[in-house]
Symmetry: C2
């Protein structure tokens, strides 16, 4: 199998240093050697999440951690306000519904961003709401929701702010404690430059205090049990040892570069890609985009699937089609994680330009 | 960090061929290349589980899949009969209780095995029971419960047989379809010779038919959604791509050797270890042991912790202490997965013999 350049919004490419760490001989997780790794990983995760609180690591996809944030912090019948403007916001909403919460679903047009004013209004209209569910990077549309200003509204309310930052963290600025975000959910295969298989949840004091009141059943994803043993550098269940060793390397790489520099690199590459795409006469789908990916609207008569197929077959570059109602209508050009470099962006743009020309698009 | 010889009942050592596969450059999971891997993995999983039915793979530890077997096949208030004679049977019971099932808990003395006669009696006493929960290899005591003869009792009853084979599969004989086992739960880091992080669930027709009646909430672990897309070589959520590529290699290794030969290798190594341990005048804890590990009773005055520490520090051999009430009382000498070879068993025995002598034990 020949190698492809992965310019998809997850899984992103995994640096060789990280891949090698995942392939080290197995060690047992109840040993001092592993505890030392876990202690360092946990400290570095808190730095990457900009929190002094613990960040829990689970063996699961990001969806598992989204579910866990609902089942551990809320109860059946609780009112929550869920914002969706794409597939990932809808997933958070659907999880809350699956557990019998009273979900006030605010569904916005794909491509739009949630505004702090509407969160404020919604909280006034539903003062008993226990939580607001929102997405940092809505990867299906490339929109970044303004979590910082939303948190300014929620942090002095009775509602927790739960943020799905699965594909936003380590791409877009996110300062948990300073902004007053109560819970952050993340996944491994995006900005964290790891293979899929790990998920993360960080909780501040307010969110930790909510655990005791939650009445939903849970076992594998159990925040109380996890936090208790995490304080002793242990895990309640067998951790995904090889992926955690990769995480150790990936966090070292991110912190060596500095998180602010990582965000800056994403902003710069994103700006370059967007300028070139607009120079081609093409429109961007999102008005307030995440730095992790660019969603490019296809002109009338051009199906994104044909463009993506040509990039893959002729250039071995993999980009993503739209999801749900956007399938066929946008190309998602990711510049996320280790693939967020000018070199990879140029390779991607060159493949994209050629593919657009092959499907009959004449740049203006 | 110097290498250790892992003779623990999970994680077991991972063959280099498997480790290298997990470290290959990342590929995207919605591509034909990945679908081809998944198609082969799914076919080979069914062979390893001795079933014509699909085997689902989840990114989680084995506990997640145990929980999933409860939340997808049963409902709150359902009566189930749970057998425990060690820590892992207790976990299955505790999961069923956490979800509000009516659990008839049959707790046996550690070291004993469940008998088919008692399962038959229990089903007569509780004819409405929807399921029997049992463990194949009770790793905390090294006992193998007689799943084949238990299935002979359950398969013509109204109750499903759910088997936790997390550490038994690919060590001990287990023929799902021929024996009439309804659901098998497994984990990656035992007989399957992988890092931890994947779990598996196989369901026969009876178990698949139970999905529709289940009323417990679930989202990440969803059998109906998984089976539906698995038929198209897809997964509902992002799979743990690197571990699945390792699984592809591990299954190839197991099937090249032949599952019957894998079981035979485990039986032979186990018999050799047990004969040597008994020649030292030591007693085995389990009367009907799994072939995956040997639980060695410590004589009066000897703490297993000291023996294990000496093996680790002087020989770089890692064995496991007892769990729960057996902590300090037994040494668990695993010969499981890739470490189930005469060479590793001899290294382990040599370390064990030296350690026993160092703590003052004079072999008879």
């Amino acid at each position: 199998m020949k190698e492809f350049l992965l310019l998809t919004p997850g899984p992103t490419s995994v640096p060789e240093r990280v891949r090698e760490a995942t392939a080290l001989p197995m060690i047992h997780h109840r040993t001092k050697d592993y505890q030392a790794i876990l202690e360092r990983v946990n400290a570095n995760l808190s730095k990457a999440f900009f929190t002094r609180h613990p960040v829990m690591t689970f063996a699961s996809s990001g969806t598992g951690a989204m579910e866990a944030s609902v089942t551990n912090l809320l109860s059946q019948g609780d009112t929550v306000i869920s914002y969706s403007a794409g597939k990932w916001g809808e997933r958070y909403r659907d999880i809350a519904r699956a557990y019998g919460l009273n979900v006030i679903s605010r569904e916005k047009t794909y491509g739009e961003a949630v505004t702090p004013a509407e969160v404020s209004e919604a909280l006034k209209a539903a003062p008993a709401a226990k939580a607001v569910l929102v997405t940092l990077c809505e990867t299906s549309t490339a929109v970044m929701h303004p979590v910082r200003s939303i948190a300014a509204v929620t942090r002095n309310s009775g509602a927790l702010l739960l943020v799905d930052a699965i594909s936003g963290l380590a791409c877009d600025e996110l300062r948990m404690d300073e902004w007053g975000v109560d819970a952050i959910v993340c996944g491994s295969q995006k900005g964290l430059m790891l293979p899929p298989g790990l998920s993360f949840v960080a909780l501040n004091e307010r969110a930790q205090a909510a655990i005791a009141a939650s009445r939903l059943p849970k076992y594998y994803f159990n925040f109380a049990a996890t936090l208790k043993v995490q304080a002793k550098n242990d895990t309640p269940f067998t951790p995904a040892v090889s992926l955690v060793r990769g995480l150790d390397e990936a966090l070292a790489m991110l912190l060596e570069e500095g998180m602010e520099n990582v965000w800056k690199r994403h902003r710069e590459v994103a700006a370059w890609v967007r300028a070139r795409v607009q120079e081609m006469g093409l429109a961007l789908f999102a008005q307030a985009p995440s730095s992790g990916l660019t969603a490019i609207q296809m002109p009338a008569g051009i199906e994104s699937g044909a463009v993506i197929k040509h990039m893959r077959d002729a250039h071995r570059v993999i980009m993503a089609d739209g999801q749900g109602e956007l399938k066929g209508r946008i190309v998602r050009f990711a510049h996320m994680g280790a693939a967020c470099t000018m070199k990879d962006a140029k390779t991607g743009l060159s493949a994209f330009t050629d593919a657009m020309s092959k499907v009959g698009y004449a740049a203006v």
